[in-house]
């Protein structure tokens, strides 16, 4: 069975239909169809753990945000994690944050934009920066800014230089460091999202939905409510996890059954019954034999 069919079968299974129906009622059929459509539009998603695809889509649905990547509200992004395997990650788009802020009723206005040379006229970390968007010295983007004005008149902005945004991406996104993913495909959109997200989380009143969106952003939702930030470069693995990854990579890269046995038979024998590496090892041995 192809992996695309496997994902589709999973999404259309009775258990999944029941779970989705519990959240979306009569919209569940439409929702499942939209998730299948999202998977069909992205080859890499079809090979991801189907449960994580569904969980990411359900997160978007609970926030009432579409996951059509052309719209920019929320995304389901495939991610190859060394420990978790191929999983789907939920990502907020900057438009999604704006939408949620507007829905809260507390924001008079909220937006984010690129800042070109000549447009940042004064930087004041206490009173707020000043901009002149009527002029532009060149087409060079020097940074990104986000601004909100609350219904009570309170106003706050956040400016990050392009270098600061790149440093942020390098620190919090492994895919950026490796040269692929949304940061590479649409840096400006990710930068706008970054400034808006940081502005809201630091200074803005947060609705329950906004809090949920920030928690879920760039996470893989496994069973239950556990968010795993697989792309987060600063998340550190334990020594035991690093060792397991090393063994996993050795098994996956093996091209000779005898070398595989010589290399890790003793290690595998020492593992607890049911450990995932045992299945991987035996599967690989069978493949190579």
């Amino acid at each position: 069975m192809s992996k695309e069919v496997a994902v589709k079968d999973y999404l259309q299974s009775p258990a999944v239909r029941e779970r989705v129906s519990g959240l979306l009622n009569e919209r569940s059929g439409q929702f499942i169809a939209s998730v299948i459509s999202t998977v069909n539009a992205n080859e890499s998603l079809a090979t991801c753990n189907p449960a994580t695809i569904l969980n990411a889509a359900m997160t978007a649905a609970s926030l009432d945000l579409p996951v059509n990547s052309n719209l920019g509200f929320a995304y389901i992004v495939p991610y190859n994690d060394k420990k978790l395997g191929k999983v789907a990650q939920f990502q907020m788009g900057y438009k999604g944050f704006i939408q949620l802020a507007q829905r809260s009723g507390q924001y008079q206005t909220i937006s984010a934009t690129e800042v070109y040379e000549g447009q940042l006229t004064a930087q004041d970390p206490l009173r707020g920066n000043t901009y002149d968007f009527t002029k532009k010295d060149s087409d060079t983007i020097i940074g990104y800014a986000a601004l909100f004005v609350l219904s009570n008149g309170f106003e706050k902005d956040l400016y990050m230089s392009k270098e600061e945004v790149q440093k942020h991406a390098k620190r919090y996104s492994q895919t950026f460091k490796k040269g692929f993913g949304n940061w590479v495909d649409d840096f400006d959109a990710m930068a706008r999202k970054t400034v808006i997200k940081l502005l809201l989380s630091r200074f803005g009143p947060m609705s329950v939905q906004m809090q949920k969106a920030i928690e879920a952003d760039q996470s893989v939702l496994l069973d239950g409510d556990k968010h795993v930030y697989a792309d987060n470069a600063s998340a550190t693995l334990t020594d035991a996890e690093k060792e397991e990854i090393r063994v996993r990579e050795f098994i996956e890269a093996a091209d000779d059954a005898e070398a595989l046995k010589t290399g890790c038979a003793t290690y595998i024998e020492g593992l607890e019954k049911g450990h995932s590496l045992i299945e991987l090892y035996e599967g690989k041995l069978e493949e190579l034999s």
Binding site: E163, K177, S234, T236, D239, K242, E243, I245, R246, V247, F250, T262, G263, C264, T266, Y267
Partner: protein, 231 residues
Amino acid sequence: MNFDNYKFRPSSVGNLMVEPRSKSQALSETTKTYLQEIYLKEKFGREKIFGNKFTIKGNEVEEDSLTLASKKMGLLLIKNKETLENDFVKGTPDVVAPKLIDIKSSWDIFTFYKADMNPMYYWQLLSYMWLTGHTQSLLAYCLVDSPEHQIYQETRRAMYSLNLVDEEGTPEFDAMENQVRLNMTFSDIPLEMRVKTFIASYEEDQIEKLKQKITAARAYLNSLNMSGLRQ
């Protein structure tokens, strides 16, 4: 206190092998200082605390270095956790199968470039071969990224030494920060260039010399008392 059966750690047994200036002496002053510290630790529980940023990095990135060395050698290297001993030495080699390997994680590219076999590491590897029965061993220097907290600390150190306090956000500060990070991370350097190995072979006559030194060291330990004079 009796040191007749005291077992020495392979990682510091090289201190016993420093030759005395005069042939009439059995032990060098360096060796005696080392033994005096052992005596004080065993007798009174006091020992010098030797943790520094180099040992911290070594401890924290050991698994990363094992992964790097595994990839370079095409072998699955697993950290050995078993302490081995015989009548003279007692220690925990980093890797015992499929090869006997001791891993050293270099602080930066400058120390990595100069890294070589030295007498301390030679005697350490010899001791491990003695314990395991291997006839050959590898000393593997690995160049892996430093932990984030150490990058942060070195950035702070540079900030003070270059008088860039309160200059965060300036081009000079950013340049310093970028240089510190570049000096402490190495994923841009090909893997094969980030592992250096040196071979040590088992030599029975060297083991005999080590045994003799250990015997002399035990006798010296037994002679020590709090006045610092031999009994």
